[in-house]
Subunit: 295 residues, 2 copies
């Protein structure tokens, strides 16, 4: 299969994809074109998924890799409280996997794209020794309303959505699970007026420390309060990556619901005037053992 | 060097980077935030540079790889007649190259970013067996004014900027040259009102065929008119990739200058009602021998 044939196939597959009204032109030119609406900010993120780091060809089908690639990036939109607009997908695959892999990957990715109403607008396609994908997602929020890591204030309560440690536990058991981006929750939290948010991609201990660093504050959390996933350990809940739940902080005046849709929301601690970036667990310093790509 | 230290270094390096006024937030959160201006369209592109496909560690310094990664993507903005706004950079490097490679890569990339007034706003950083980068660039144009591949009309003259075949010739001689994105020319051509444009990344024969396909028309070009680079062959000028010059078409009423700044502009042929996607060279069908990643 030649590159032009593969791209023609992708173009035809995209015809059934959700199409954002502000996307003037998608695949087929040097760039995609977007006409932003007045009064909105656009937010942008990109995330790699790399063979033998984020998946293996043994544990993930091409469709699951496509789904994971998009979901990881969508999770960053969720953390800003943004609504999905469009994505660009750069994909490199070994020649021996060829067109069949590309087709499976895009079927998985487009299924996820339709579920979360995001348009595939372009990207790049190349041959390489291993499978690599880089997905850029664009989202929208009302101007000035994006949820930031740096928005936390001392005294605010800290919450997480869902259960923690499930991804690390499943991974350890050799049954990796696919991320579910918490877009509905992110938008609900933004409308509720929460102060700061992040998605838990690298583990609670590391991601909470990031919020603390960016907000120039400390935090204290409590083991007994953590919503540990069934069968997962406390360690997996504290340091396991890839849960893709949202962590957020809220001022006392904000009434945080116990659930958003079916998703539970749990208070786990408090923002403090402690050493900036330092997280305490039951009064003791908690080391950030979350995933560090270069450690 | 830990990931957080590398990211801190990148953040400090970015402080001296050109900062677009519409970029509200760059590196340091889950997403970058942009407040688009009224009446503008935003255009988006992403391009891989992959070890042993687009460069080797023997022929390119880390800085040259960073420069090339950004320049390739900027060239797509040039092809739309767009002004650079911001970029996201996803970079994966082997652990053994570590922080020194990342530093060199970003120094090269940021030098190019400052030269063309584009802000580095975020991206991803990962460890991998080989060096891979994916650069997403965003540009702006007045609403509805982006130059399209599909804008060509029968009877329009076809032009190229610069000289052709230089990159292929230098590559064959083992002295690869770095791309120069023709942003100034692209903006000038848009203001001039040219009809269609593309950047010559994969070779004249393939890229002109793309304009023809998207415009549903044919084209005829003439060997004697081609601005072949010094020492390059006609074959290198016709099929060699990576020249990153602009190809465009213009209606009879448009007065196309012989130079844009110092860059020569050469008329090489005409858009025809021939078979859509078919290019003739001196009356004979010209095969698209340009770079096909999966051929």
């Amino acid at each position: 299969m030649r590159e032009t044939e593969i791209i023609d196939w992708i173009k035809s597959a995209v015809r059934n994809n959700y199409r954002d009204k502000t996307l003037r032109r998608g695949i087929g030119d040097d760039c995609a074109i977007v006409s932003p609406r007045a009064g909105e900010d656009l937010v942008f993120t990109s995330d790699f998924v790399l063979e033998d780091r984020h998946f293996t060809l043994d544990t993930h089908t091409p469709a699951a890799i496509g789904e994971k690639a998009l979901a990881r990036s969508l999770s960053d939109l969720a953390a800003m409280g943004a609504e999905p607009v469009f994505c660009l997908v750069s994909l490199a695959v070994p020649a021996k996997l060829g067109g069949a892999f590309v087709e499976g990957f895009y079927k998985g990715l487009l299924g996820t794209a339709n579920r979360y109403a995001i348009s595939l607008a372009g990207g790049d396609l190349a041959r390489f020794d291993q499978v690599i994908a880089d997905v850029m997602c664009c989202g929208r929020v009302s101007r000035g309303k994006a949820l930031l890591r740096s928005g936390a204030k001392a005294g605010q309560r800290i919450f997480v959505t869902g259960k923690l440690g499930a991804a690390a536990h499943a991974f350890a058991a050799g049954r990796p699970i696919l991320p579910v981006p918490r877009l509905e929750a992110g938008i609900a939290l933004r409308k509720l007026g929460v102060a700061a948010a992040i998605d838990l991609s690298d583990g609670l201990s590391l991601d909470l420390a990031r919020v603390c660093r960016e907000s120039n504050l400390g935090a204290e959390i409590f083991a007994a309060k953590l919503p540990v996933a069934r069968a997962a350990t406390l360690d997996e809940a504290l340091h396991g990556g890839e849960d893709y739940e949202l962590l957020f902080t809220a001022a006392a005046k904000i009434k945080v619901p116990a659930r958003i849709g079916k998703l539970p929301v749990t208070e786990i601690g408090v923002v403090t005037r402690g050493k900036p970036g330092m997280v305490l667990l039951d009064g003791q310093p908690l080391q950030s053992k979350g995933f560090d790509h270069f450690a």
